[in-house]
Amino acid sequence: MTFLEFLSGVPVFSDFTQDEIHLLEQTMMVKDYPQGQVFAKEGKTGNSLHLVVEGEVVITRESKEHGIDILQRLAPGDLFGLVSLVDQGPRSASCTAATHTKVASLPRSAFELLYKSHDRLGYHFQHMIARQLVHDSRAYSQALKSSILAYDRNKFYEALQPREQYRGTERRGNDRRRGERRTGYRPRIF
């Protein structure tokens, strides 16, 4: 499968036209990374928006008690590094390849060009970014409501786990063509 075909099946780009997907494909840099590759270090400012193409990326944070905590596992189709690019603040956590991975990256300069442009692609990009942030906010909100009653922190974290996971671009491609969205949502911690 080509990267273009992969991008066409990623739900977050479902509003993009084929021409826009094609432009994105030309702008993003796809690279293979070995297990253990650190994409972003906690506390550092992010320089790229990343998309997992193959393999798994884990979001981790250092903990005095346990060394390294794995907070989230990202699968193909998941974006990471978004909040840091939008608010230009430091990363909340580190992002590391848990397996051999293929990751597509959009450098900050290209991100800002798209994010600030006023053409149709720019609008689709800005709306995609805003929707991602809304989805993350809703996921946290839902986790909060489902755990408040029991005052159970574990329920909060359990509620953040995805109800449906990405299993292949073929299904994702169908989702897009049918204009459907994932019902489950994987909140990301950036």
């Binding site: 989805h135 906010s137 909060l144 408040i148 009653l149």
Partner: protein, 182 residues
């Protein structure tokens, strides 16, 4: 009630770049005056409109069963309903009217009109709303992450210090909903 574009721009400086942008926005909003005690937004109900608070005061709270968590107040110059405006769907919190308030509302039709006629104003709006959401998410995540793997929480449970326990949820609710000016 006539609102001058320059006054609108001053109050919502992050949301529009020029008086002419403000003038256009003022043309597409509807003005709603709501009475003290009214419930403007009901949690979990569908919403697709953005509400700018021009005058008055609102408060937000979360409800889960019988548990109610106040997440703060909304003051003039702020807004509510942004999640549904960006992506129509269920609201995340209740919004009550604490004092008679004047709201400027952009409906879904207004969103479409902006997209068709003045996409650059919609871009500015989306970027400002995204920045606000990103900052709130960052604050929420920092709080969630701070307690990940931290024994402080389990100690408070073991010792039945529920005040500490409750504050963990309260803090997340407040960070997430980003009530400003509370």
């Amino acid at each position: 009630m006539r609102i001058l574009p320059s006054d609108f721009r001053q109050k919502f400086s992050a949301l529009c770049k020029s008086d002419s942008d403000a003038e256009y926005l003022l043309d597409i909003v509807t003005t709603n005056v709501v009475a003290k005690g009214d419930q403007l937004i009901v949690q979990d109900q569908f919403n697709d409109s953005l509400y700018f608070l021009w005058e008055g005061r609102l408060s937000m709270f979360l409800q889960a069963g019988e548990v109610r968590i106040a997440v703060g107040e909304v003051v003039p110059g702020r807004w509510v309903g942004e999640l549904g405006f960006i992506d129509p769907g269920p609201t995340s919190a209740n919004v009550l009217v604490e004092e008679e308030s004047t709201l400027l509302v952009i409906s879904r039709d207004g969103f479409e009109k902006l997209l068709q006629q003045r996409p650059e104003i919609l871009s500015t709006l989306l970027q400002a709303l995204s920045l606000d959401l990103a900052e709130r998410l960052r604050e929420t995540e920092n709080h969630v992450l701070k307690r990940a793997g931290n024994d402080e929480f389990s100690l408070s449970v073991n010792n039945e210090q529920n005040d500490s326990h409750e504050s963990w949820f309260d803090h997340i609710a407040k960070k997430l909903h980003g009530a400003r000016g509370a």
